[in-house]
């Protein structure tokens, strides 16, 4: 088991090396003559206009919020699923209750019209 985690750790350290090498090789062999016009932001093809920081819809945040709540729920459910053999029927139903409470939240957001993209 620890050996497997050593493998993961080394993989974490080495995995970025391959793409990093792919970025560094062009540094050595590719031409490099930057000028002001060339390094202008492309954006959508015409000259850029105004600040890059445009105001975004608050709705992106709401969707991330619903996601966060469900993400947490799932973290509780994974140990529950792994321990399934040790659980009596009512413990399973507790897990189901846990899911249903969260579904109530989903229904609330649904009824409130939060899930519509406006």
């Amino acid at each position: 088991m620890p050996d497997d985690w050593i493998f993961i750790g080394i993989f974490l350290l080495l995995a970025p090396v391959f793409p990093a090498a792919a970025i560094l090789i062009p540094r050595l062999i590719a031409p490099r003559k930057p000028n002001a016009l060339k390094s202008e932001t492309y954006e959508c093809g015409i000259e850029t206009h105004g600040e890059t920081w445009v105001q975004f819809k608050a709705q992106y945040y709401i969707f991330a919020l619903v996601f966060l709540i469900f993400d947490i729920e799932i973290v509780f459910l994974y140990p529950w699923a792994v321990a399934f053999d040790n659980l009596p029927m009512f413990a399973v139903l507790e897990g189901v209750l846990f899911i249903l409470i969260l579904v109530a939240g989903l229904l609330y957001t649904w009824r409130k019209g939060v899930l519509e993209w406006v």
């Binding site: 920081w53 945040y61 991330a64 966060l68 709540i69 659980l87 957001t109």
Partner: protein, 170 residues
Amino acid sequence: MTVMQVIFLVTAVVSLGGAVMVVTVRNLIHASLWLILTLFGVAVMYGLLSATFFTVIQVVIYIGAIAILMIFAIMLTRRVKQEPGSSVNNNWWLAGLMALVLFTALVWMLSTWPGFQTTLPELPQDFDSIKVLGTALVSPEGYVIPFEIASFLLLAALIGAVAVAWERKS
């Protein structure tokens, strides 16, 4: 120095450095990226403590959800012009002093505790902590009340946050 100590020290230095950057750097997006580095360091710490389930959920929840939520919020609440003035309030030196005093006090208090130097005990044989955790979370002798309350808490947080942040377009 064992391998574990080396890993611990490197991780500790990186994540504490990241934490310092989180509380000092001006650009909030950069601060959140440093925060992610720190959170990742903490995930490695859980790995060193052989709580591998926590390693992955630290990444899934903190980096995959909470950090993303923060980045979204930063982008939603940014004024067009760079905020003027310093990023810290006038009492920042007092705050620093308090943090330092608290740290010294904590370390001093802990060092007087006899259990401070406890060395790593062997994990019991055939101990699957995820299985035990899953059983404990739903057994009536265990943590079934916190488990169900956590779900109510999340429901309340969802409803509350949606009610606060949601604004119907007229």
